[in-house]
Amino acid sequence: MFDPVALPLIFAGLLGLSILLYVVLDGFDLGVGLLFPFSDEAERDRMVASIGPFWDANETWLVLAIGILLVAFPTAHGDILTALYLPVAVMLIGLILRGVAFEFRAKAPIGHKRPWDLAFWSGSLMTALAQGFMLGMYIMGLQWSWATVAFATLCAVALAVAYSFIGAAWVILKTDGDLQKKAVGWARGGIWGVVLGMGAVSIATPLVSERIFDKWFRFPEIVTLAPLPLMSGLLVALLWLALRRLPTANDSFAWFPFVGAVVLMVLGFFGMAYSFYPYIVPEQLTIWQAAAATESLAIILVGTLVVLPMILGYTVLAYVIFRGKATKLSYD
């Protein structure tokens, strides 16, 4: 396990895991922020209450992801982050705005709540757009040109809509009454963004690189991989049907949109991972070329194997403690 072939692979897996967890977990709380303009103040309080105990830990997965990139693939992280300098800065400023607005909106003098709500929304929007943009640029091989920027912009919008979809699905799960009804409406709109985004990425990725095209469309892969798009399609159809019937009288199936959205994200993620493997900087650096020294990776792995299960354990504990419908946040 501690050899120079396996270690980079394991760390690529860990990197993937933390990006995936980040996108799913911070995805829903960013999405909640994106939905602010469509809600009134009381609804916003409730929506914030539904993510209050979680958002900080959710964001920590981003810190872990960037940390793994930094420590396990030192040569790649410079290439990727300097190429994405500006979108990274936009994302960071977005994260700052929403992270602090979260606290300030509750603690500032009453009259100041509105500007902080605005900061929360705009921070969430900046973050979502910047992340989508970076995803698009990454798919385009980190090259800046009109065409790649146009594609990245499309991805930016698509990811923002996708986040608001999973955010709406979270609100359906965590609230009831009028707000829940409203959230079903949001989700009905958002699902089209998800279809558009996943479609655009699926079409563009193979077109950009012959290697990726080949990986998907040669025989027998085209058959073994077929379940991936088919399952995604089926799931979208099911989600669409479910959203027409929700909310149900006894609140059954309120979990379905959220779980469906998560599964959709997981499927999309595996598709992407399959396309790019074994590269970490698309078409330039493989995970083995970019990896740090074996001794250093080994010492991190030992810690990871001990600590990661604990982290997952107490993360689950937090979700169990705060299960059920969201109530007003209070410190005692």
Partner: protein, 452 residues
């Protein structure tokens, strides 16, 4: 403009903003645990009220610490790619352990600590409070291991210009780590002591006579009085350690140009690097030699020893190091006077009978800890120049190849946001103090405290 200079300013601005909030949360976490345990023991409502007031400050500070910390982690990649490429094999595992053993612990249990009191049993809530305090201290530990290693590298070898770890024990317990860690943790304690004392004094001055105000005042002043002598001792030992490993830094701190004995302790001077002399010196004869060597004739290194044959200067810029050191020590002395005078007066006439000018003084010192901490870090970090990792990697070698204009844009954006947030933070702290710790309610009934 110059990418290197702008990247340095940007990094310094970011880290200076970041450090303000961990400095508060590291010690405030333990203070909250103390309040909570006192309440569990005594069932005296005032401890709960103290807890409920300061937990809000904690939550707010924590949020600011997290978001600015995330910015920090990205800076390594966006602005200093050479750092990880050269020393990543050492820095990487240390950062990874910080994220895994500290950040997740804090972040998850913070949710339970803040919002879980009514959802989990009392012991679990106290445990969550403990784990959050423990987590913040762990992050300080790991990041200071890394920072100390950058000042006094050990346990590694260089192969083809890349650092490889050879001895993790030596890396973690590198020569300056124990001093830096102790000094920083004490700094955090002092920052919180004066923050609590300062805001409590201000509430008292405004006529707020809730029982927790006097208790907070007493807590802050006594904590400050206990910690400051230890801090001065730790600072002195830290300086002796620096003398051993980074003599050029100590030479800059003392503003001493020529190596020799009987070096005075300068109280004031304007170091002039062009002429390589000080103007308008006021000093106490031989005291620097006595402090650093315990001997009036003791030899103190001078800056002129750190100029290469060809005239290349290998010591840090003198004036900023000289002055930030004096600001830190000056604030430390002020803290000594303020906390001991306060403790003495409280002992003589109780916490609810302090003279108004003294209370105004404490209010003025609410953020004194921030001042000293920033000044201390400036001494340390500027004193390391031109090195990023002493003797291994210079700052110039680590900087990324990005357009200067781009760095300038992001720098201006960060600074604008940071200034606005700092103003908002301080305003909200005083707003919370004005509202007082609790919503008026009968003492016996359980009070539901909203998060605002």
């Amino acid at each position: 403009m110059d990418t290197l200079l702008l990247s340095r300013i940007q990094f310094a601005a970011n880290i200076s903003f970041h450090i303000l909030f961990p400095t508060i949360t590291i010690a405030l976490g333990w203070a909250l645990l103390f309040f909570k345990v006192r309440f569990n023991r005594t069932r005296d409502r005032k401890w709960m009220d103290l807890y409920l007031f300061w937990v809000k400050v904690f939550a707010l500070s924590f949020a600011l610490g997290v978001v600015s910390g995330i910015t920090m982690s990205f800076q390594f990649g966006t602005n200093w790619p050479g750092f990880m490429e050269t020393v990543g094999n050492v820095a990487g595992p240390l950062l990874a352990y910080e994220i895994m053993t500290a950040f997740f612990l804090e972040a998850v249990f913070l949710g339970i600590m803040l919002f879980g009191a009514s959802k989990v049993p009392g012991w679990l809530h106290t445990l969550a409070t403990f784990l959050v305090a423990f987590g913040t201290t762990m992050s300080a530990f790991w990041i200071l291991v890394l920072n100390s290693w950058m000042h006094t590298p050990a346990g590694h070898e260089l192969r083809d210009g890349v650092v490889y770890a050879t001895d993790w024990w030596a890396i973690i317990f590198n020569p300056s780590m124990p001093y830096r860690l102790a000094h920083m943790l004490l700094a955090s304690g002092l920052t919180v002591a004066f923050l609590i004392a300062g805001l409590s004094a201000w509430r008292w001055l405004r006529g707020d006579r809730e029982p927790e105000v006097a208790t907070g005042l007493r807590f802050g002043v006594i904590l400050g009085a206990l910690l400051i002598p230890v801090q001065i001792l730790a600072g002195d030992m830290h300086g002796l350690n620096t003398l051993e490993h980074q003599p050029q830094k100590v030479a800059a701190m003392e503003g001493n140009w020529e190596t020799g004995g009987n070096v005075p302790l300068l109280l004031f001077a304007l170091p002039d690097e062009a002429a390589r002399v000080n103007h308008y010196e006021i000093g106490i004869p031989s005291l620097a030699s006595i402090i650093l060597k315990h001997d009036p004739a003791g030899e103190v290194p001078g800056l002129n020893d750190f100029v290469a044959e060809d005239g290349t200067v290998m010591h840090p810029p003198v004036a900023p190091v000289f002055w930030s050191f004096r600001i830190m020590v000056g604030i430390g002395m002020l803290m000594l006077v303020a906390s001991w005078a306060g403790a003495w007066m409280m002992w003589r006439r109780g916490a609810d009978n302090l003279p108004r000018p003294y209370l105004w003084g404490l209010t003025g010192m609410t953020f004194a800890g921030w001042g000293a901490t920033l000044a201390g870090w400036y001494t340390t970090e500027i004193g390391r120049q031109p090195w990023l990792v002493q003797g291994v990697l210079t700052v110039e070698e680590a900087v990324g190849d990005i357009a200067g204009g781009m760095v300038l844009t992001t720098l201006l954006a960060y600074v604008a946001i940071y200034l606005a947030l700092l103003a908002a933070y301080i305003a909200v702290l005083f707003h919370l103090a004005r509202k007082g710790g609790r919503i008026a309610a009968p003492l016996a009934a359980p009070v539901i405290q909203p998060a605002e």
